[in-house]
Every structure is written in C-alpha cells, then in structure tokens.
C-alpha cells in the first residue's frame, strides 16, 4: 500500500498547524516524523488516521484519492493509529476490548474471533490472556494490544505517536522487534517521535516538521546535529536575562521521587535559590507537570521531602503550600486555573485571600481595576473569565498571583502567546525575582528556556537531570538532551 499526503493544510483559528505538507509513505517502510512540541506532527497524523478533517489537501491510497471521514473509515481503508493514550477500555476484558467494533450479530462470536486473535498473535509473536482485564496490563502491553486490534481489523499502515513515552527498556525492545516484524509482513509504519536515537535505530528515512511545515527529509542513519538543526532551527542570538539569584536558598528538594502515570523518576536533589529562575525542559508528558504539582502540594511524592528554609513540609495540600507562599499556575487556563462563569473581579477576590468576611466592593473593584491596568488585561472587571482571549486569561492568572509569593510554579506560562506578550510577562516575572521570588517554569520552547532561565533541568523518559547552568548550554546541546542524547 502506497500512501501519498498531498498539500495538507489545517488551521486552528489563526494558527497554521499544518501548512502545505506533502509526503509519501512506501509499503514496508518505517518512516520517522520528527519535530518539537507544536510542530504539527500529531495534527498531521490525526488527519491521516481520520480523527480530524483537514482544511485543504488530499490523501491518496494506491493512486486513488480517499475520504477519511472517521477513525473507523480510515481503519477500513487500512490506516490505524496508536495514540499516546490508546483509547482502550480499562474495565473491560482483553477479548471484549478487541471485539468491540466488530460487524453485526447478536451474540458475540467468541469461538471464531478467539481463533482469529490467536492466528494473528502467532504472526506477531506474543500472546494475551483474553479474559484478563485491560487495566491489569502494563503500558507496553496495552500498546501491543492496540496494535493487535488494528491488525485484526485490517490495518496496513500503523501510526505510532510517541510510543516509547513511559515504557521500560525491555518493553521498548519488544515493541521495536514487533515493528520490524510487521514490516517483514508487508505493513508500513509511521513513527512520530522526538527521540533521535529511536529514529536512527528503526527508520530508513525521516521527515522533520517545524512550525507546521515540512522542513526536511533525511536518510538514516545520520548524525544528530543536522536533525537537531532541522527540528529547532538556527540559533538566534538573544540577550540573556540577568541572573539576580542569590546564593541563599529558599527551598530544597531532597531525594524526591515522583510518579508520573507510567514511571518512577530517579531521586532528585535540588536547591532552589532565592530569586532564581529554574527552567524545566523536555517534551510534554515527561514528568514536568507532576514535578510542578509535587512542589505545589497538589500531589504527594512517592519518596523524599521538600524543605522550606530547612524544615520539611509535612502537610501536603495546595492550601498549606499556598500559606507558605508557594503558588502554582496551570497550563489549562480555563479548566484548572480559572472558573468559567465568574468575573475577573471575583477571581481577584478569591485570590487575594484576605481575612475579611464581608467583601468591600469598592476596595475589590479598585484593586481589580488597578490590576487590569497593571497587567494590561483586555477585559472589564465584570467580564467573565471565559470571555477573555487566551493571552488575557494568562495575564489574569499572572495578576492573580499574590505579591508575597516566595516560589512560583508555572506550567507553560507563555504557551500560545505572541512574542510581545511573552516578553512583557517575563519582564513582570523578573521584577518579582528581583524582590526575591524563586520561579520554576516548564516550557517546550528552547529559546524561552535559554533566555530566561538561570538553570535548566531536563526531563526525558522518566529521568530528571541535574541542573545545568543555562549559559553552559547551547540550543543544540539542549535540543539533544531533550531528544535523549548526551545524558550521562
């Protein structure tokens, strides 16, 4: 089966998620697709798998244009995708999970289907206990299960989106062996990843996406630096922000082990200095969110402690942490940070948390107006949170942070914002650092990390690195670390 993607475009509002992408996938090959966060890889794959529609462009299979109107339709035509979250049914049995979606009939044809499953398993080289619950399987096994399902329903092309996030090395080997086996059976594979070593190991060629465009096609194996350059672009020279950190520590992280959905991290030991800006680098889903949650008291660590001026923090709730001046700003602005249906003024009343019982409306209005001015929020005191644009919601979240904050934990603080807003937000944050606030932020933007952090910690595949001084890193080195290269 030969698949051609012709000039696909997809817009989300003003954003060009996919900008005229064309490529071909040959039968029996493993094609790699590289790119950083937001490059457009997942969007393109979702279009190919029938999950979303493109705005323009065509997809041809074996020389004929096709309409991929749904995931089911795409599967019927032979294209199946294994997402990072396999969209399976944890509470159902393995057999049921595989059977669901089968054609008509009142009774489940257990015998015939079981045979079919076993035949397919024979070809692939693994075996499942069909009466086991899906939730009892490991992540790697659930992936295998989903691949099995896609093959049972006639997949010729299998797309894998970041499949090795959070699986063990052994499971990774099993997966890769399976993929090679599949190509010998004549199937085609697309591997979407940010991990350079994997692409080098599995693929004969790879394409690189950046900012919605296809910027290059490379035969493999090849050396990382050219790949990194394609992925992240030329290094731009920026004036780095002044380091105003003081050697005096506020907080200390001691032997901290966090558990993300799929893995346990290595123990982390970190001193957080007053006034410093610590950047957390790495692809999304590598544990930065859990790390921030743990430092904010939202999640409990598996092991280890957080020390505040030498004393371990024992009560782990968002409230008690906020009493200590530790605040968290989530990336999902409307789902986690703001309350849809409440006004800007009400948000300030909530965040200011003074001890009064009755609200002094005049005072809160004055505060609100002052903050709106100070943070240039395009909105009124009576505007509902959901009416503000994304950028203004971010400004609101920022404005809600209390003045006395000692540690700010920011999850993707400038995502979706233009350059001007980004610079302005960082100026504001820097002012706080000058007053002694420490900041830890996660970001997918290498430039932002290099420009604004004093130190950077990298997250990759469940591992948390020791901090690097940001002036020691170049964007190539940082890109490589994010891609898994150069770790000791």
């Amino acid at each position: 089966m030969e698949i051609e993607i012709k000039n696909i475009c997809k817009y989300f509002g003003k954003i060009h998620a996919n900008d005229g992408i064309s490529l071909t996938i040959h039968q029996g090959e493993i094609l790699g697709i590289l790119g950083e966060n937001g490059a457009g890889k997942t969007t393109l794959m979702k279009i190919l798998a029938g999950l979303i529609c493109c705005d323009s462009g065509e997809i041809w299979i074996d020389g004929k244009p096709v309409r991929l109107s749904s995931a089911n339709a795409a599967l019927k035509l032979g294209i199946g995708m294994l997402s990072q979250d396999p969209l399976d049914f944890p509470m159902l049995k393995v057999f049921d999970n595989l059977y669901l979606g089968s054609p008509k009939g009142l009774f489940i044809q257990k015998k015939t289907f079981r045979k079919k499953i076993e035949e397919e398993e024979e070809l692939l080289g693994f075996h499942f206990d069909q009466d086991d619950l899906v939730s009892n399987l490991s992540v790697g096994e659930r992936q295998q299960l989903e691949i099995l399902r896609l093959l049972l329903f006639g997949s010729e092309l299998i797309i894998l989106d970041e499949p090795t996030t959070g699986i063990s090395a052994q499971q990774k080997k099993q997966l890769f062996d399976l993929l090679k086996r599949l190509t010998r059976l004549g199937k085609s594979i697309i591997l979407v990843t940010h991990k350079l070593s994997e692409v080098n190991e599995l693929c004969a060629r790879t394409v690189v996406l950046r900012q919605g465009k296809l910027v290059g096609e490379v035969a493999l194996p090849c050396d990382s630096s050219s790949l990194i350059e394609l992925m992240f672009g030329k290094t731009l020279e920026f004036r780095n922000i002044d380091d105003v950190s003081v050697p005096q520590q506020h907080f200390r992280v001691k032997d901290l082990v966090i558990k993300d959905a799929r893995f346990y991290s290595n123990p982390v030991n970190l001193d957080i200095r007053k006034g410093e800006i610590l950047g957390l680098a790495g692809m999304e889903g590598s544990g930065q969110r859990t790390f921030l949650h743990t430092l904010a008291g939202i999640e409990k660590p598996v092991k280890g402690r957080i020390l505040d001026d030498g004393d371990p923090i024992l009560k782990i709730t968002p409230y008690s942490f906020s009493e200590r001046g530790i605040y968290f700003m989530p990336a999902a602005r409307l789902e986690e940070g703001l309350v849809a249906g409440m006004t800007v003024e009400e948000h300030f009343i909530l965040s200011q948390r003074e001890d009064d019982f009755l609200i002094n409306h005049r005072r809160s209005l004055a505060t609100t107006r002052a903050r709106i001015r100070e943070f240039a929020i395009k909105g009124f005191s009576y505007s509902a949170a959901e009416e503000l644009s994304g950028g203004n919601q971010q400004r609101l979240l920022l404005a809600m942070l209390k003045k006395n904050a000692r540690l700010l934990l920011l999850e993707n603080p400038t995502r979706g914002l233009d350059v001007e807003s980004t610079n302005w937000i960082w100026t504001k944050l820097h002012e706080r650092c000058q007053k002694g606030t420490s900041i830890i932020f996660a970001s997918a933007d290498i430039d932002e990390l290099l420009r604004f952090s004093n130190r950077i910690v990298i997250f990759f595949g469940g591992k948390i690195s020791d901090p690097y001084e940001s002036h020691e890193l170049t964007s190539e080195k940082l890109g490589a670390l994010i891609g898994g290269e150069g770790w000791k």
Partner: protein, 357 residues
C-alpha cells in the same frame, strides 16, 4: 448598541419562559381532559381555593414560610455544587429537636417567648447535625450526597415514627396524629383567627436577606460559588474545598431545621409523622424553577404555595384529587428545563451563525 443587545437578550429569555409556562398549562389541561375534567373550571377553582377568603390567603403564607426557607437553603448547597436531597430529613430533625426541647421545658418558669426562641435554635442545631451526617458521608465516605441524603431521609422518617409511637407517644393509644400538643401558651403567636404568625414572615425576610448577603457579599459566598463551578480550579487556588462544602451543608441544614422548627411551634404545635410534608423536595423544585435567583425564589415559592392551598378545594368542589397542584408544579419545572435546553441550542445556533458571518 450594547443596551439594545441586553434588552434583546432579556426579551429572548422572557419569551422562552413564557413558552414554558404555556407548555405546562397545556400539558396540565391535557391531563385534566384525560381525567374528564374541564380545564377552565379547574383553574378557576384552584384560584378560588387559594384566594377565596382570608383564611385561605393566610394559609397560603403559612405554606410559603417553610417552602421559601427550604428553597433558600437549597440554593446554598446547590451553589457549592451539591445536590442536597437530604433536606427533607433535615427539616424533620429540626422538628424533632424542637419538639424535644419544648417537651422538656413545658413546666419551665422561663417566659414562653424565650422557650420558643430556644426551641427554634435547637431545631436549627438538629437540622445542621443531620446535614453534617450527609456531608461526612459525601466528603469522607465517598458516598454521593444524593443517596446519602435520600437514605438519611428514610432514617429520619423512621426516627420520627419511632418517637411518635414509642417514647413520645400519647398516653393510652399511640396515634398517627402525632405527639401530645403543647399547651397553648407555648404556641407561636399568630394573627388572631389564622394560623399565620407575623414572626414567621419576618424570619423568612431576615433569612433571605442574610442568605443574599452571605452568597453575594462575603468571601465565603464567592468561594463556594467557585467550588460549585470548578472545584479543581478552586482547590488549586488554595481554597479549602472540603471545609467550605461542609459549611454550606451545615448552613443549609440549619435553615431547613428552622423550617421544621416553625412547623412545630407555629403550625402543628406537636410532632406529627411526615411533618416535613414533602417541602424538602418541593423547595428544591422551587429553587430549580427560580434558577437559584434570590429574588425569584420567594416569588416562585409563593406561586407553589398558593397552588398547594388552592388544590385543597378540588376534592370537595370537583371530585378531583388535590395532587393536581403537584402536577402543575412539577410540570412547570419540567417545561422550564425543556425550554432551557431549547434556548441553549437556539442560542448556540445563533452564535455559530454570527461567527460564520
């Protein structure tokens, strides 16, 4: 331009509400037709039953007192995102506690006004206590407050029945008509000739003003509103969601308990089985129909009260069961919900059209 948009919006909302009322009336008319009754005559009798004479009008307010208190109480927990179905039981426990204190103070030397006042306070304690049980089950026991509430209602009913037929029974034969009535001097002072007490009316006004202030003008009120709309974000903002949800339950229970207390001291002067008279659920329906608005709620409560009173006449005059009032009340809420849904889809379509332009 903006003013025009706002009044345009109000008109749209109003017209949808009008359609809802019309729908409910048509539905009830169909039901009446099925029951071989004449809709026009029935509605007329209903209104006569509610306003026919001074006693009836006064009785309308007698029902309004507990109903609006309960509806107001329900708004608090609903704002916090809780479906406090246990409010029926909280009314009963309020009545039970009130009766209990009254019984023990019947021979006391304190002035009756003081006794009544303390008993009402006791009623609030009873209601709050019962609400705290539902709260604990929900917040610490992982049980949905819907089932905890309904379950506790059953327990409250059983408890009151046990008291009426057991330790508190009338000397001689226990009776479904309740415990021994209190001496007249311990009755809440009413307008002479009627069962309505001015104190009750004043209390309702005070409570509503208080609730309004608490919900709209205090930090507590804004916080529970945030919890109700997005408890995750509220928690991340550092709001102590559990503590506040429990407080909302306690406050609601206290007011429900007060409603129960007033039923004892002002209306029945004893404990009867099902003293809550279904006001718990009816009050919930009132709040739903009034869309949790503090100004509309007492008005809708009054509408429901007069429907209740008006319905009493029906069996006598037209041989129709008085539950017609209930049919009309619930039909109103149902059609309101339907039109709400229709309105949302209508507005969604209009918005999408606008964006497309």
């Amino acid at each position: 331009m903006e003013i025009k948009n706002k009044s345009h919006k109000l008109l749209k909302h109003f017209s949808f509400s009008l359609v809802a009322v019309a729908g409910a009336l048509i539905f009830v008319s169909i039901i009446l037709w099925i029951a071989d009754a004449q809709p026009g005559l029935t509605f007329q009798k209903l209104i006569q039953g509610a306003f026919g004479d001074a006693t009836k009008i006064a009785n309308g307010f007698v029902v309004w007192v507990p109903l609006s208190l309960v509806a107001g109480a329900f708004i608090i927990t609903f704002t916090a995102g809780l479906w406090n179905l246990g409010i029926e039981g909280q009314i009963m426990l309020g009545a039970i506690f009130t009766t209990g204190l009254m019984r023990s103070m019947q021979t006391s030397a304190l002035p009756p006004a003081v006794i009544i006042f303390l008993s009402c306070l006791m009623g609030m304690v009873g209601g709050a206590l019962w609400a705290s049980l539902a709260g604990i089950l929900r917040l610490y026991g992982g049980v949905s407050e819907i089932f905890a509430g309904v379950g506790l209602n059953f327990v409250a009913t059983a408890f009151s029945i046990w008291l009426i037929f057991g330790p508190w029974k009338r000397p001689g034969v226990a009776s479904m008509s309740g415990t021994v009535p209190f001496d007249e001097k311990l009755w809440l002072v009413t307008i002479p000739g009627y069962r309505l007490s001015v104190w009750s009316l004043i209390l309702v006004a005070v409570v509503f003003v208080g609730l309004f202030v608490v919900l709209k003008k205090t930090r507590f009120g804004i916080q529970i509103k945030a919890i109700g709309k997005n408890s995750k974000a509220a928690s991340l903002m550092g709001i102590q969601t559990r503590k506040l949800m429990m407080s909302a339950m306690l406050l609601c229970g206290a007011i429900a308990g007060l409603a129960g207390a007033l039923q004892v001291v002002g209306v029945y002067h004893r404990l009867i089985p099902s003293i809550s008279s279904g006001y718990g659920f009816l009050g919930m329906l009132v709040a739903m129909l009034a869309n949790n608005d503090f100004i509309l709620t007492p008005l809708v409560a009054y509408l429901f009260s007069i429907l209740n009173i008006g319905g009493i006449q029906l069996p006598i005059d037209l041989h129709l069961d008085s539950t017609l009032s209930g049919v009309l009340q619930t039909a109103l809420v149902l059609f309101f919900l339907i039109m709400n849904g229709v309105k949302q889809r209508f507005l969604e379509k209009a918005e999408r059209k606008q964006d497309g332009e």
